[in-house]
């Protein structure tokens, strides 16, 4: 929060999701200075877009609140939002990162009073809801947003809306002349916690994502269930807004597939088991879930969560990779395939199909400076060749939240080891 000067004893954390925040806070609470870089206008990352966590069915924003409070009270963390690391020069203990900061068009005077939002008319897609809904072009990213500061969508710059926003703000917080800037930050070590992105479901052609409105992804489903989501927590299907009560969950949508992602994304089985709970929660009488799977991977203590769901009569399990999805005249997605346990053919219509899409590391495609060693799936491997750039969370492996936080904590220590050496040398 304060603008301490970054030195070789500073730790640069890239990514403000739960892994990045954890790494930053654990390091800061151990007395290290940290620069935390987030590409979105607010912290929180993907977990903040989830309705509930497995297996406790508690709410991610609960932990986010604590982490934000830790951050607000800690002067050692310097936060840069709307910022992207575009390059890292140097070597272990002595890096210089180039960071591109996109204009927010709103400065620190913002009180989040919301006048600008009321003033503007233009609507833009809301990425926090995976574009299932729209919000004003002057917006607070979400209710938990930190920094608690509005953002102007670049689309309204130069329009009358922009001026409306500016005049609406009594506090001179709207600054339409803000420009993209590039800064350089020194750091002794880097924690790379850029997380994951859902695999592009449209690439899984037989499932018709993009062709059939009522075939959606698991991350989108989280938004439908979320009380703060586009439907206020009601599970309504996209095509006609009808209540979706008979829902199919398709496992390994992209994962464990050499045509898509080679690896198993680990979380999808648990995510779908969790999501059957949403169906039951919203439609206690007539909600119905069907899980199509190859192997249910409810690993370690999660097993009892699996057993609970198995005991639920409203959930059925079919050991089968769905071959293809078609759409019937009512707009219902129809799953075609064979239940491999005893060879039973099925052609089953559902109200909604949820694809449990796999995890693709966000580092994939991004050229991490210094040619970071990554595995065949693009996850950063622990390798001396990476110098003092340490992968954390889902940038390093397909992990659930708990393991991601462990990984981030470990990465923080590795970074601390480097900056401690630097400190010793400089002392």
């Amino acid at each position: 929060m304060t603008e301490h000067v970054a030195t070789n004893e500073t730790i640069l954390v890239v990514g403000g999701g739960i892994s990045g925040m954890t790494a930053a806070l654990e390091a800061a609470e151990t007395g290290k200075n940290v620069v935390l870089v987030e590409k979105n206008p607010a912290l929180g990352g993907r977990t903040s877009q989830l309705y509930r966590y497995f297996p406790k069915l508690c709410h991610p924003t609960c932990g986010l609140e604590i982490n934000l409070r830790r951050l607000k009270g800690n002067p050692r963390v310097r936060l840069l939002t709307l910022a992207e690391v575009t390059g890292i020069e140097g070597d272990t203990g002595n890096y210089t990162a180039t960071i591109k900061i996109h204009p927010r068009y709103v400065n620190e005077n913002c009180t989040a009073c919301g006048e600008c939002e009321r003033a503007v008319e233009m609507m833009v897609d809301d990425p926090f809801n995976y574009n299932l809904s729209q919000h004003k072009a002057a917006y607070l990213p979400n209710a938990m947003a930190y920094p608690q500061r509005y953002v102007l969508d670049p689309a309204i710059i130069g329009t009358a809306d922009a001026d409306r926003a500016k005049t609406a703000c009594k506090y001179g917080a709207v600054d339409l002349d803000m420009q993209e800037e590039t800064i350089q930050v020194k750091a002794g070590a880097v924690v790379w916690a850029t997380g994951w992105q859902p695999y592009d479901a449209a690439k899984i052609q037989p499932y018709g994502y993009g062709r059939f409105k009522n075939v959606i992804t698991s991350v989108e489903f989280e938004r439908l269930a979320d009380l703060q989501g586009p439907t206020g927590g009601r599970i309504l299907r996209p095509s006609d807004g009808k209540e979706a009560k008979n829902i199919a969950f398709i496992q390994c949508a992209g994962s464990r597939d050499e045509n898509h992602l080679r690896h198993c994304s680990r979380i999808c089985c648990m995510a779908s088991l969790k999501q059957t709970h949403y169906v039951r929660e919203k439609y206690p009488e007539d909600g119905k879930s069907t899980i199509y799977y190859i192997d249910i991977r409810a690993i370690d203590r999660f097993e009892d969560f699996y057993q609970k769901v198995q005991a639920d009569p409203s959930v059925s399990f079919i050991k089968s990779k769905v071959a293809k999805i078609t759409e019937d005249e009512h707009g219902n997605p129809v799953c075609h395939g064979v239940d491999t346990e005893g060879y039973k053919r099925y052609t089953t219509p559902h109200d909604l199909v949820v694809l449990a899409v796999g995890m693709e590391p966000s580092v994939k495609g991004i050229n991490i400076p210094g040619h970071i060693v990554a595995d065949s799936s693009g996850f950063i491997e622990a390798d001396p060749a990476n110098g003092a750039v340490f992968g954390a969370g889902c940038a390093s492996n397909a992990l659930d939240v708990n393991r991601a936080v462990q990984s981030a904590t470990a990465a923080a220590l590795r970074a601390i080891q480097v900056v401690n050496k630097v400190a010793k040398a400089e002392a």
Binding site: T30, C58, R70, R262, D300, Q417
Partner: protein, 743 residues
């Protein structure tokens, strides 16, 4: 106490100026709040407004600050005065944003704001800025219990970070389970073949590190003290005891394989040719030492066919065996099957599984095994029948639907039995009295803590010492003591090493903060800590029993002894204390009590009921805030006070409120029970236990039970809370005004 100067600042921004009579608020602060200095400002959180406050601190000698503006969760950068006592009166999210902007609402809205100003002034006056603990321990040494991969990794990583380590291993050698492995599952590309365990490398690193002191054949005889100042007695084989000063502890006591003798139906203990995964590793090591051929234990004949039985005694819903999945066994069996295939492709290896669980790149390892000709069969093994040197494995083939499938003449059967944590004594289960004639097997304590609440770290229902938090896996209930590796969750070597590294950081962080007197998670950095006015104490032991973190011991006279560096500042002790002698500098019976009393209670004819809300600051209060941000209206009759945790709820607050003429009290705390969401683990549960007795109080006051309402709240209840509040307000109207008004 030191002379204080309180200043009240009232903001007119964000519509406060338009919606409220801020001049009146200033007067209220002066008259009722009795503050010498009260000002209003058009835009308090901007540079100029903050400068004004700083200036008053510097030049007017202001020590205590009451800010009447937005929520304490907002504008934290601007209103950051770590040196001062600060109270925030939430006029924005708490008043104007939850009230309609109408003329009829104006009066009640103003009353609401004025009360919050009164409350803020009263609170801040009752506070002092925490001075921190003058007596803190400063040991920088880590104690690591357990010399397996996890323990060794912790030691090495801590040492690398510059901290001395004492490592205690109960056996005569380092290495633990991993040292009994022939090879390990690969952790780097390509994930195709078993890799060296690397244990030798770790052992020599530990032994070669002058910063790591190793005790072999040693156990922990006694652990006394607190983070930063643990005093640990280490008992060695020779009977000698060594005492070490320790800053923080990592418990890496590992696991024991589930006993296959409990699985006779699977041939466990029935034949030397039925082994568990450890048994197979031993055979593989023996083979590697010899001609490389894995041989049948019974007669030393080369193994030509081997069957791996997955989930042996695991994933058992009946409760007879392990209910959980150990996670690593699928990869391990794949690895062990490769031992055979890599040596001789002609050996038949079959893995019988129900769900194959190879997450992440394990999928490559699985594919590689198939390429090598390992046969995978989806089925449930019903029985393993040893007959002579071979066995018959009877199973239900789930794909071919064959309930009586069988594999005959199997030379070797490997049972994947899974991990049982070595977590020591389960302190929450009272040791059952030994039945006559039976020999009582007492679990051996790992840490032998001298804590009032027992010798070991609390356990979860399956015996693991995991934290039950998803976002905060390291937050155990014993500050400065972290568990790592399979003792807290079944895991493989790769995860254990990651876990160990994370635990090392937490331990280092704990001892560093202990020295500075700073609290650990979740109130990280909090310098306040509970102080006990012993002269008032009745030695009732509530505090020592209830503290969720075992922070409070008892001295020989049964007086509580607070170990502040074990304390998490939840205030449960304060809530528990019947004589109210426990308090924090910035949070006490009084800081809350004073606010309750500061509220102006209209008489019963005004028909303006008053409802007190005591809301958990972690979940309920943010939810109310967000209701405000969403402009969701709720009753103008509520007055909300954030509390650290429902566990810090002292029933005196309720009695005071009711005596003062409040018509009702609403308590908002997090979910308790097995799936608790309380950030202090047991806080909300203990608070509720206390509440369960409130009915007696109500009876003695002869008040209706409706006057007190407990609400389980999640941070997402943004729409629900206003509904509940309004519902409750309506109910109270039906119940009628409190008889205590106007006294």
């Amino acid at each position: 106490m030191a002379d204080i100067k309180v200043a009240a600042y009232i903001c007119k921004g964000c519509g406060l100026g338009e919606r409220l009579d801020t001049d009146a608020l200033v007067k209220v602060a002066q008259k009722d709040g009795k503050v010498p200095l009260a000002k209003s400002h058009d835009f308090l959180c901007n540079a100029e407004g903050v400068a004004m406050i700083r200036n008053d601190i510097a030049n007017e000698g202001v020590t205590h600050i009451m800010i009447g503006a937005c929520s304490r969760r907002a504008k934290t950068e601007a209103f950051y005065f770590p040196e001062n006592a600060v109270a925030r009166a939430n006029l924005r999210e708490g008043v104007i944003w939850i009230r309609p902007d109408t003329d009829e609402a104006r009066e009640t809205t103003q009353e609401m704001a004025e009360d919050y100003i009164r409350m803020g002034c009263a609170e801040v006056k009752a506070m002092t800025a925490p001075g921190g603990n003058p007596v803190t321990g400063s040991s920088k040494t880590l104690l690591v219990v357990g010399g397996g991969v996890t323990g060794m990794t912790t030691a090495i990583e801590a040492s690398k970070t510059g901290y001395p380590v004492v490592l205690v291993e109960k056996t005569g050698a380092l290495g633990g389970w991993a040292s009994k492995l022939y090879k390990r599952v690969p952790v780097h590309e390509p994930y195709k073949s078993p890799a060296d365990t690397g244990v030798g490398e770790l052992v020599s690193q530990v032994l070669g590190d002058s910063n790591i002191k190793v005790y072999l054949n040693a156990t922990i005889a006694k652990t006394d003290g607190a983070p930063g100042r643990f005093i640990v007695d280490i008992a060695t084989e020779s009977g000698a005891t060594h005492t070490e000063d320790i800053g923080a502890i990592v418990q890496a006591s590992g696991f024991t394989l589930y006993d296959m003798n409990k699985l006779p139906e699977l041939g466990g203990g029935k034949s030397p040719n039925v082994v568990d995964q450890a048994g197979l590793e031993a055979l593989a090591i023996a083979a590697a030492a010899g001609d490389g051929v894995i041989r049948r234990p019974s007669d030393g004949q080369p193994v030509k066919s081997v069957v791996f039985v997955q989930c042996a005694g695991q994933r058992d819903p009946t409760g007879t065996h392990l209910a959980y999945c150990s996670g690593y066994c699928c990869n391990t069996s794949i690895k062990q099957a490769m031992y055979f295939k890599d040596a001789n492709p002609a050996v038949d290896t079959t893995i019988i599984y129900t769900d194959l669980r190879t997450p992440g790149n394990g999928e490559d390892f699985y594919r590689s095994a198939q390429e090598k000709g390992v046969n995978f069969t989806k089925g449930k093994v019903v029985e393993v029948v040893p007959n002579g040197a071979t066995s018959t494995v009877k199973f239900h083939d789930l794909i071919l639907g064959d309930t009586s499938a069988a594999m005959a003449d199997v030379d070797l059967v490997v049972l994947a039995t899974g991990q049982v944590p070595n977590s020591g004594v389960n302190i929450e289960v009272p040791a059952a009295p030994a039945e006559a004639g039976t020999v009582e097997v007492k679990p051996i304590s790992i840490l032998n803590l001298t804590y009032r609440q027992g010798p070991d770290v609390p356990q979860l229902k399956q015996g693991f010492t995991d934290s039950h938090f998803i976002c905060f896996p390291y937050e155990t209930r014993r500050t400065g003591i972290y568990t790592a590796g399979p003792v807290r969750r079944p895991m493989d070597i790769a995860q254990a090493r990651e876990d160990a590294t994370g635990a090392a950081l937490k331990a280092i962080q704990a001892l560093e903060n202990a020295e500075l007197g700073r609290a650990a998670h979740p109130r990280s950095g909090d310098l306040s800590f509970p102080k006990v006015r012993l002269e008032g104490c009745t030695q009732c032991k509530r505090c020592t029993v209830e503290c969720p973190f075992g922070a409070i011991d008892e001295d020989e006279k049964r007086f509580p002894v607070v170990n502040e560096s074990r304390c998490r500042r939840c205030g449960t002790c304060m809530g528990a204390c019947p004589v109210r002698v426990i308090s924090f500098e910035n949070y006490s019976i009084n800081t809350v009590g004073a606010q309750i009393k500061a509220v102006d209670i209209p008489d019963e004819f005004a028909e303006k009921p008053r409802i007190l809300i005591l809301a958990c600051e972690n979940d309920a209060y943010p939810a109310l805030d967000m209701a405000g941000m969403n402009r969701i209206e709720y009753s103008a009759y509520v007055r909300t006070i954030p509390i650290r945790c429902l566990g810090s709820l002292n029933t005196i607050w309720i009695t005071d409120a009711l005596n003062a003429g409040y018509d009702g009290v609403m308590l908002m705390g997090c979910k308790s029970g097995d799936e608790y969401q309380c950030h202090f683990v047991k806080g909300s549960e203990l608070g509720r236990t206390r509440l369960s007795k409130i009915d007696d109080t109500l009876k003695t006051l002869n008040l209706e039970s409706e006057r007190v309402r407990d609400l389980e709240v999640a941070i997402t209840d943004i729409k629900r809370l206003p509904e509940m509040i309004n519902k409750y307000a309506a109910e109270l109207v039906a119940v009628g005004p409190s008889p205590f008004k106007g006294f």
